[in-house]
Amino acid sequence: MRILAAAIGGGAFVLVSTVVGVRLVALASRSRQLPELAIGAGLLLMAGIGYPALTVGLMLREAPDLQAALVAVSGLAGVFGQTGVAIFNWRVFRPEERWPFLVTFAIGAGSATIWLWQGFGPGWSSFARTQHGPWSLQQMCGFVTMSWGSFESILYYTKLKKRLALGLADPLVTDRLRLWGIAMGCAFASTAIAGVLRASGVKMTGEVTGLFVGPLGIASAAAMWLAFLPPHRYVNWVLARAGAGA
């Protein structure tokens, strides 16, 4: 049951992130703007390529070379994906401040360095077998990018809520900030729990991950879907709620 929950939660997150990522990259091709390119590519790389490649790779015990290659590809997708999300956080929420550039650079350069360290050091076969090695450090980058994105979105949402009460904000955009904060927050929580368990020596089996990947994956996927591809009923509900509060 828990393995099924992990599969459903992880699968939902991968599917929605891929669909939203493709949509945002397509938007970027029309708008020529960096935010949609950064976040669209980030979602596609991390969830559309990285997560599935890692999942399949870890199952291929009988083909160690293919396993190592898939895990390495997953890692590389993670390097570029996390950097894309960090660039989005910086350019959207703190474009005129210096420290976000430094954080973004540290995430990109740090991830790339750890990827190379794993590859030229213990190797990707070793990581695929044991899930231990320099690449384990990369999850810190995930902690930073996702918690940063969640924090900034929720902070800006609290500002827009005040503006909405004065008629100075769009209800759908306000709700979108809230939902994106939730999506990133759930993704961060899932990664953080996995990181703490792994550091405690717990083996990440489906039985273990099903406890949190399932519910958090579904919550993140649902929030992302409602943020970027909301059904008409949801849109009408948001608008009606804003009208009722006016």
Partner: protein, 101 residues
């Protein structure tokens, strides 16, 4: 260089009341904070609404008589001027585009 809408409103309040520059700016900043808006990025259109709905009560707390009329006059004078545009695109504008709004 064009002044910002925030600077204009602060200067007008300072001239028309007994508040000094620091007090005038602080009063407006408090109103902006209640509205969820930053002084660096507030637009003239947003300030017009805040002048109508929030700043009068802040001025009354500071002993300003006829705060409602003063704010109406400032809003009228604002309408005839152009102000410097905000710098970077706001997160609100980005998220509006991401959702196709």
């Amino acid at each position: 260089m064009a002044e910002s809408a925030f600077e204009f409103v602060c200067a007008e309040i300072e001239q028309a009341t007994s508040l000094n520059a620091l007090e005038a700016r602080g009063t407006v900043r408090l109103a902006l904070k209640s509205a969820g808006v930053d002084a660096r990025s507030v637009s003239a259109a947003q300030l017009k609404v805040i002048l109508d709905k929030l700043i009068p009560s802040e001025l009354k707390k500071r002993g300003c008589e006829d705060a409602d009329n003063l704010c109406k006059q400032i809003a009228t004078r604002m309408a005839g001027r152009s102000f410097e545009a905000a710098g970077a695109e706001s997160p609100e504008a980005v998220f509006a585009r991401l959702g196709g709004s």
